[in-house]
Homo-oligomer: 287 residues x 4
């Protein structure tokens, strides 16, 4: 079912987010604790922003398990960023494991990840192609439900896509993406669970969802707000915020034992604005 | 623009077809002689049949240049087959290099390769999705024009696809695939060249095309018929056939200096039947 | 700690050995049952012989987990052999995951695999280089203890190495390899466990060891003899032998629920001769 | 024979060094102009320093041609550094193409690259193992002459290796490495050319050699000093220095048409100090 983590705040090495926490994403690749799929080792990816140099993020994705990738380990000690998204993948049965199917997916300044499952791949693919303009169809590079959802999301943003987009606008297109996918699922009368824990970022805001239509299949989602997330003597902690928050993590699983971790309810959107304020929006049930 | 080779006849090691000839496919990966793209090193693939064991072919594809792949070199000395297809890829600018984009593409008993270019990727992708059933849309794994053409071809065969299909039936669907793609290209008024040197096999027959709509851009295609293709002291030769042919090669480039190599004309189909008889059909211009 | 399987007997598809059994090697990659390391997903390899074509085996190895490798899955349905070795790797902490470190290792007609650990990598490397001729030093391609043990083993065979070698000769050099490695370990006064479950084959015989110097760390080893190993309706069985055996499996774990599986004792050598007779030799303790 | 580039100076994106120049390293991967091997596509690597975060460099290496690696392209636009080393590899015949054989090689703060060939791999490997301490033997991860030369170089530095090392000390150990390798080559009476264009950096200085013992086989080496290397409208230029130099490139080939490029003579060491002063030292012939 995959696992992901996203971060917004003061600059951090990738390592502090991805390797060092007790329940880091690397740990979740082999031993996910809150996931139905304990092993999430069918590729991985990390995207990060360096706004001083380029509005678009760097994306490093590969097909090996995250835990044994020497490039990832090396990069993570040296690269710092104020906005990081990372993902470990559990491929669905016989789905190709290649870079194009790894998350996060990128378009211009935007990164997208998914933890879940949208039933009916062929039908979804066709519907997305019918719905979106040629230039977005041309961007479909792999064959995951996750990427198709991203392409749909992109089509629900006002063009041009290669511009600065506020958190509120991202959240609005995000909610409409969920609505559209739920409507298609309903009209199909599918009996397979629809699971849509997505996460999107423009490098300055993050929007993530916890959303599943079958209660027992809702994958976990947590967030954590504080003044600083850092690691000392092998223990990573989110320090309590005095004044305004300076670090926010939205993650499939709690990375550390800090009491600040909040579990997000089903059918919810977590919106982290550029100010680092966090708002949880309850999604209404489709009419 | 890619290069390919296909073989039907007495059992041969992969090596005799792919490595040992003076102008082998491995050689063409670095030094193609009749291609606009001298280097064809953005992945490779080989498919072969072992009819005694399985009606479906084995497919081995990877993202490295063919010349340095240790697995390919090792397999090629030991694996024998009476029907082999192999391909070295030249990716179009910035197209992903992953296994799903490598040729040959497989569906059930069928293998498909392409050397060429179909302009207008997004539009082609949409049209194919509109045209073919959901279960074929679900089979689109990468983002090449080549795979989309294969999916269209599959939709022009009578289902079920997982059955024995004769050369004549393959050739018919193949010709209609070319027609459809040319019709779409014409209706778009595209000015980019349409180049469609395809090759398909069911393990017992081969159909290949030389087809381009701009004379100066027609990639080469050759075939060679004889009694045996084999290599002695580093020199590979197609021996002359006495009686009925027992070995046929259809290939982007002549592999050896044998006088039997025939250059196929533009807008032609080469049909190699199970009897190893070779027929070259001239394709009529779309009305 | 890795897991391996080896087979000698009537021709079998790779799939029947590697994929289909209830506790197949693919299953052991994610869920090893008798291993301290449940996940063995740091690369894999398979080697097999086709004596009619080439005395040397084909070797296919790659760095992904075995369970998601599309090439392995495709090959396995089509390739048959009378002698197959396969391995899933658990790398030691931070050891590189690359093809050169995957098992089986090959030299000429010989294949070698290891499940275990030899402490003191640098010292072992130096000792092997001091001990073996230049042409074998030049064959060291990776940095595993397993490959160094293979190089030592090769130096204990009578040259030339590229010839047919009987089971008895393999077993003799194998035993001396274990003795030498144990003697080095003893002279170092190492407190780390020495674990040497090796397996070697020339395509016609197999020799494997269960050998560890600390009882609680002895990895499992089993073998199974019968008339035919085959899979029907998803259940794989070793049929009982009437007359002489026609199929032998030597494997880290029992692949099926057949009562024929025998657990090998510690400090033992399993020698499968070309006649498929199986002899278990108790190794004496070094003086 | 490989090609490399190294940079020291004001912060630059990797892209400005590796992709954008007319004769960039990416260009040299497919079309090297001053090399006997036009294609250098058997893997690549890039290392860079971020002194504010970590004294050790990040290293990203992979086995595909540099020109089609999507991770490299993405990283290069976003990552900046004041010290960058990059390399495209041409493997010697049948040498494994894996990450451990890609350059640059790293140990602690040091990066090492090679363009050339040291004959007699097995003998070199043995000699290095005899000469260096166990902990350095344990660091040999691949099987290139280049890495063995690096291990020898490391053994000629005063331990501990994980400290700040001045340019002069690097240059001294570097010269002794060349001497030792030349002495071994001479004592063997080898008739194969000894080619040792190495490059080492600690993140603050660079030392590189042009060194071959057969005049016709000396690979090219150039350097360029100026105030700023940057790209405008697709044209990359080294601006002339007013005052002290602020950017130095040492590279197998001139990257741009700037008149500042200087060709280094054979048997020379280029030493770029932390002040960015460049000194070319003539190496004396071994007695």
């Amino acid at each position: 079912m995959c696992r992901y983590v996203s971060y917004l705040g003061d600059e951090l090495t990738l390592s502090e987010l991805v390797y060092r926490p007790a329940n880091s994403l690397i740990h979740q690749a082999a031993e996910a604790m809150e996931s139905r799929t304990r092993i999430n080792a069918d590729g991985f990816g990390v995207g990060w922003y360096n706004h001083k140099v380029h509005p678009e993020p760097a994306v490093f994705k590969d097909v090996t398990p995250a835990w044994n990738n020497a490039n990832l380990r090396s990069l993570s000690e040296t690269v710092t960023s104020s906005c990081i998204l990372a993902h470990v993948r559990k491929a669905q049965r016989f789905d190709p494991v290649n870079r194009s199917n790894c998350h996060p997916f990128q378009h211009g300044r935007l990164l997208w990840m998914h933890n879940g499952d949208i039933p009916g791949r062929g039908r979804l693919h066709r519907r997305v192609c019918e719905r979106v303009p040629d230039e977005l169809v041309a961007r479909i590079a792999g064959n995951t439900d996750s990427e198709l959802a991203f392409i749909l999301f992109l089509s629900l943003l006002e063009p041009p896509l290669d511009r600065s987009i506020e958190a509120a606008e991202l959240a609005d297109a995000f909610a409409r993406t969920l609505e559209q996918l739920e409507a298609w699922w309903s009209s199909d009368g599918s009996t397979e669970p629809l699971v849509m824990n997505f996460c999107v970022s423009n490098g300055k805001s993050i929007v993530a969802s916890r959303f599943a239509l079958e209660e027992q299949a809702v994958p976990s989602l947590h967030y954590c707000v504080g003044s600083e997330f850092s690691c000392t003597d092998g223990v990573c902690r989110m320090r309590c915020a005095s004044g305004r928050p300076r670090s926010v993590i939205v993650s499939s699983e709690a990375l550390s034992a800090d009491p600040q971790w909040v579990s997000v309810g089903n059918r919810s959107l977590v919106v982290v604005a550029e100010s680092l304020s966090v708002e949880v929006q309850r999604l209404s049930r489709a009419a």
